[in-house]
């Protein structure tokens, strides 16, 4: 299978500085979560995202460049300047952020991992007590009529 993509542009330093400014806006951090800048969402994690989908590169570069040229980086300004590219750039940077291990650890989220069903607790399995009201109500289906219409 051929995937019809080619990464044809590179994120240069100025563009990346603009993306850092955008990250400050969209991923500022909370009391619990680190900021996007501190985990490098605009750096190597972004590069991984762009390797996974090179079709995002033009939007990311356009938005990063616009942000770098802007004195005050706001989403509203960027939307006016580069339109729909903003959504794609936000998606790319946010995806990058939620790959960073520090973020997953802060969330208490392990990521996509194995949890064999053999390890499921009793609370995680159905029980006949839980099902009892359903069984007690009995059949709810409409049976096949005796003759076709």
């Amino acid at each position: 299978m051929t995937i019809n993509d080619e990464r044809t542009q590179v994120v240069d330093d100025q563009t990346r500085s603009g993306l850092a400014a955008l990250v400050d806006v969209i991923l500022p951090g909370t009391t619990r979560l680190p900021s996007g800048r501190s985990v490098g969402a605009h750096e190597s994690w972004l590069d991984r995202v762009l390797d996974a989908d090179p079709r995002l590169v033009p939007a990311v570069v356009a938005v990063g460049s616009a942000a770098a040229e802007s004195e005050s980086c706001t989403l509203a300004d960027l939307v006016v300047r580069v339109g729909a590219h903003v959504e794609s750039a936000v998606f790319a940077l946010t995806s990058a952020y939620y790959i960073a291990p520090q973020v997953l650890e802060a969330l208490g989220y392990p990521g996509q991992v194995r949890r064999p069903i053999s390890e499921a607790t009793a609370e995680e399995r159905y029980s006949e007590d839980l099902l009892a009201p359903v069984r007690e109500r009995g059949a709810i289906y409409v049976p096949t009529p005796d003759s076709a219409g």
Binding site: P28, L75, S95, L107, Y109, Q112, R137, S147
Partner: protein
């Protein structure tokens, strides 16, 4: 292109199958096990477990691009584009060995009996040319062949349904969802799934990755590339991949005599066959039949009824996310679903619409999938501190109730050939004209209100409708409907074309009505029943000279 299976003369066979999805795989196995020479042409290729994005940190990016279920987004060399300019819903599929089951959630529900008799019961649409009882043995057969997990005794279905494996854990989200349904007195049941809950051979048991819809790292999900094709190949079927069929050919007497196809290098081939089975599903099949025009069939092959490509049904889908106080680790799968509900599947005309919906309770695998469910909010409300707050508040503490709506057949909902769009081989792309009916819209709205209610009954502190439309067209049905009357159907109750006695359709195109449940079990049960009938009547089969 690869050719796997018994070395065969690729230019001649007993039965040519077009499409290696679930119906094609089922037919190939049954025929090959009966000693019939089978060649299957599949425009896509094999997916290796090592290629799937499910274990990659970049999974969310990949499923939004090269692994998207939307062929117009995915845009890989195995795909054909779909003209959806005039469609309220966009089709989702996968073109490869196993078909769309490569990316499915493996839900495995049966139709309810009334699904086959909506005209008799409610004067709605049409009846199927067979009953639940007549197809039930084939539901049983396919559950055994594929391996399914679930719980017997569901009161939403007639008794007798068995699974070879116990159900997957419902998880804490399932328990929470069930508690809400119990408060309301509404039906729920552990999901019936084509997912192993016990290891078998080289296929492991479910490990709750919740990445089912981008491929199963354990091999537990019974996509038909792993659940059916190995046996079909072992029995002697031949599978030719990256083989794009351009048309089904006919002889002077109007019998199908094979197909013309392109290999990956663009070289044209023709494979002759005594019989042809089309398994391209609700878009691929009518497209191919309409491409296969000739002097004998100027309006498309097998189309004397005029119904090829008409009555497209796509199961509109709506969902509500509920956020809860407690941590439920709601990223744990399967996804698929952990619970199903048929409380509202049957007709109640007092609701204001004809049929109903099947519900499923689903996990939310991670932060990006969670944020997708808030993507209709203004940018400022889902980015910045607000966006991070959504994830902090809801990750692990939320799950989705989803409702699959039974849409009704409408001859104005069609698949035709696009005048503007072609695939990579220059073949006209399919064009969808599909409009949501007022019946569907009322059905959707009513079920949305009930799902909010179900979440609140379970203790949700926040509920929100999910903006899935338009890219939610997983189930592509009805465009070569079956029936007894050649004037009002394309194929007979066993998938045989009324017009071309050695041409068959076995996929979801044959559906008369859509039910509200996931169609794959019914598709493959139909295919098995039809294949068996094909074998039983082989002595009377008309074939080209």
């Amino acid at each position: 292109m690869t050719e796997i299976g018994r070395p065969a003369d690729a230019t001649q066979t007993d039965v040519l199958i077009i499409g290696a999805g679930p119906s094609g795989a089922t037919a190939a196995r049954i025929l090959a096990e009966s000693g019939i020479r089978v060649i299957c042409l599949e425009q896509g290729g094999w997916v290796r477990r090592t290629d799937i994005p499910s274990q990659k940190p970049e999974r969310d990016v990949l499923i939004a691009s090269s692994w998207s279920p939307d062929p117009n987004v995915r845009n890989n060399s195995w795909d054909y584009p779909c003209d959806v300019v005039d469609s309220d819903m966009h089709p989702l599929n996968y073109n490869g060995v196993g078909g769309s089951t490569v990316l499915w959630g493996a839900e495995w529900p049966r139709f309810v009996p009334s699904d086959f008799r909506v005209k008799s019961l409610y004067s709605v649409a049409d009846d199927w040319p067979f009953t639940y009882e007549e197809i039930a043995p084939y539901y049983d057969l396919l559950s055994e062949m594929v391996g399914t997990s679930g719980l017997a005794g569901d009161p939403a279905l007639p008794p007798g349904l068995e699974h070879s494996m116990p159900p997957v854990p419902i998880g804490r989200i399932g328990r929470k969802a069930a508690e809400g349904m119990n408060k309301l007195g509404w039906h729920w049941w552990p999901s019936s799934l084509a997912i192993n809950t016990k290891s078998h051979g080289d296929r492991g048991a479910c490990a709750r990755w919740a990445t089912c819809m981008s491929g199963c790292p354990e091999g537990a999900k019974s996509s038909f590339d792993v659940a059916m094709w190995p046996a079909a190949l072992a029995a002697g079927a031949t599978l030719v991949t990256e083989a794009r069929v351009r048309e089904i050919t006919v002889d002077k007497s109007g019998l199908a005599n094979g197909a013309t196809w392109f290999d990956v290098d663009g070289k044209e081939h023709h494979t002759r066959a005594s019989s042809v089975i089309v398994c391209g599903n609700g878009i691929g099949t009518p497209r191919l039949l309409q491409l296969s025009t000739s002097n004998l069939f100027p309006d498309g092959l097998a189309n004397s009824s005029g119904l090829v490509g008409k009555r497209l049904m796509m199961h509109p889908y709506v969902g509500v996310v509920g956020v809860y106080e407690e941590d439920m680790e709601s990223w744990l799968g399967p996804f698929g679903s952990v619970l199903q509900s048929l409380q509202f599947a049957e007709t109640d005309l007092d609701r204001g619409f004809a049929r109903g919906a099947k519900w499923c309770a689903n996990p939310i695998p991670g932060p990006m999938e969670l944020l997708m469910r808030y993507s209709d909010l203004p940018l400022e409300q889902r980015t910045g501190a607000a966006g991070q707050a959504i994830v902090e508040r809801a990750l692990g503490r939320s799950f989705e109730w989803g409702a699959e709506i039974e849409d009704l057949p409408d001859e104005n909902n069609t698949v035709t050939l696009s005048p503007d769009m072609v695939d990579g081989s220059g073949i006209p792309a399919p064009k969808l004209n599909y409009r949501l009916s007022q019946d569907s819209v009322r059905n959707m709205q009513w079920n949305l209100e009930r799902m909010h209610e179900a979440h609140r009954a379970a203790g949700a502190i926040e509920t929100k409708e999910i903006p899935y439309m338009p890219a939610i067209g997983w189930h592509l049905l009805g465009t070569a409907r079956c029936g007894d009357d050649p004037a009002t159907s394309v194929v007979d109750p066993y998938g045989r074309s009324h017009d071309v006695p050695n041409l068959y359709v076995f996929d979801g195109s044959v559906f008369v009505t859509s039910s509200s449940v996931n169609p794959t079990p019914t598709i493959v049960a139909f295919a098995a029943r039809a294949t068996e009938h094909m074998l039983e009547t082989a002595g009377d089969q008309k074939v080209p000279a």
